[in-house]
Symmetry: C2
């Protein structure tokens, strides 16, 4: 079987658009629900709740953050104790609904840097759902402060789709703040996660990722898969996630 | 632990309304996605695709049918070959979108009694998503003809939430056609499934059900569970379904 395809920004965008077009007929609610469920299941597969009960779910203002909110809810249903760090809530109605669903589960939300600092000392794992495939530097406030704190926390970290700060095609790149100053230390080139959950298909920039790599977003038709030559691996049984390193990665059988 | 609660029609209705109220903040798209996924996973758990590849998913015109459409899509993603029998498509926009998603997976849809008769001879299992908890006799055409055919097919059958034709509180009851004529034979009191997947919580009418009984719809908060004294069982790990007979059924430990 040919190796799985790594997507450019343009292709990733195009697939999302096709899925949600009149022809594809998916709603954002549906896709985000399945994506966020896959994120939560990946965390639960790798980090058991006995040892990693308290998970800090870091959410950006875009769709990535929406996936994070869905994941936080499912993690709570699984018996974890998630906290949401969301300093810049997205404005779309869907993010507000997803956030309300979390609040109904008594999941608390923090938004200040000092709360983030405290949370990093009291949680067992991080879900990084800050920036997605449309991220471009500079890193805007308050994420220019948050990213270094998260990156240097030493906590087990799982990134959603693309590690925050990475370029969707070029991977880890030198990050700058607004004004041009470079980010220093552990976050100089973005988050370095232990685990990655790619959604629908992995992106070009994550070819260099060396940790445990999962795929989720089991909603791509054979036709779409063929059209975009995705060469997706087979998901086991009725699972919503599949580990790529266990199948093949960059074409290499492991 | 106190036994799981069996819901009256009123309670089931109330829980759905709370979930989708401004306070609950769930969209129908989300709940139906998780419900339909649970239905598909239950079928996949009980009837492997090597032996039960061709599944006839029978959809009614209401939310039950919507769950069926979502399940058909996931079954196709799992590698099954589902066919949809949907003689009276629901009119809401969501059913049309869900149906389009199935058509994009090349899932075919039949609607005539003669096609249903043929399909029952060529499929390995049935998912019954025709009538839900708001069903009241009489059984309207064409379901007054379809129910007897499905019931007498001898195919392994899994019902969604409540077997079609059963009363949500009184269970199997004598069914009549419009005009008052009683249904005869295998469908005299509705479908007798081998497997049942209850959604959110089982309904009063299914207490007498003797087959394998699963629960899905893992989206009820502890608060809602407490408020309605649901006493839901614990779902294993990150699963979206739990088998009730393996936990306790009607309070009796098995």
């Amino acid at each position: 079987m040919p190796p799985i395809r790594y997507l450019t920004a343009k292709l990733a965008q195009q697939i999302d658009e096709e899925l949600m077009s009149a022809a594809g007929a998916f709603s954002l609610d549906q896709l985000m629900e399945l994506a966020g469920l896959a994120c939560a299941q990946t965390l639960a597969k790798v980090y058991g709740k006995q040892t990693h009960e308290k998970v800090l779910v870091c959410c950006g203002p875009g769709n990535q953050g929406g996936d994070g909110l869905v994941a936080a809810r499912h993690l709570s249903m699984f018996g974890y104790k998630p906290t949401i760090y969301m300093p810049k809530p997205g404005k779309k109605d869907i993010y507000q609904r997803l956030h309300t669903q979390c609040k109904n589960l008594s999941i608390s939300t923090i938004d200040s840097i000092s709360d983030l600092r405290n949370a990093l000392n009291s949680h067992h794992a991080i879900m990084d759902a800050i920036f997605g495939f449309s991220f471009e530097p500079p890193v805007r406030a308050p994420f220019d402060e948050a990213l270094p704190l998260i990156a240097s926390s030493g906590l087990p970290t799982i990134s959603v789709d693309i590690p925050s700060g990475w370029h969707v095609e070029n991977g880890p790149i030198k990050l700058t703040r607004e004004g041009g100053e470079e980010l220093k230390g552990d976050a100089a080139t973005g988050i370095s996660p232990d685990v990655l959950i790619s959604l629908t298909a992995p992106k070009e920039g994550v070819r260099v990722f060396k940790g445990r790599h999962f795929l989720g977003g089991r909603f791509i038709s054979r036709e779409l898969e063929k059209k975009f030559e995705l060469n997706l691996p087979e998901y086991p049984g009725y699972e919503q996630i599949v580990e790529l390193s266990a199948v093949s990665k960059g074409g290499e059988k492991l």
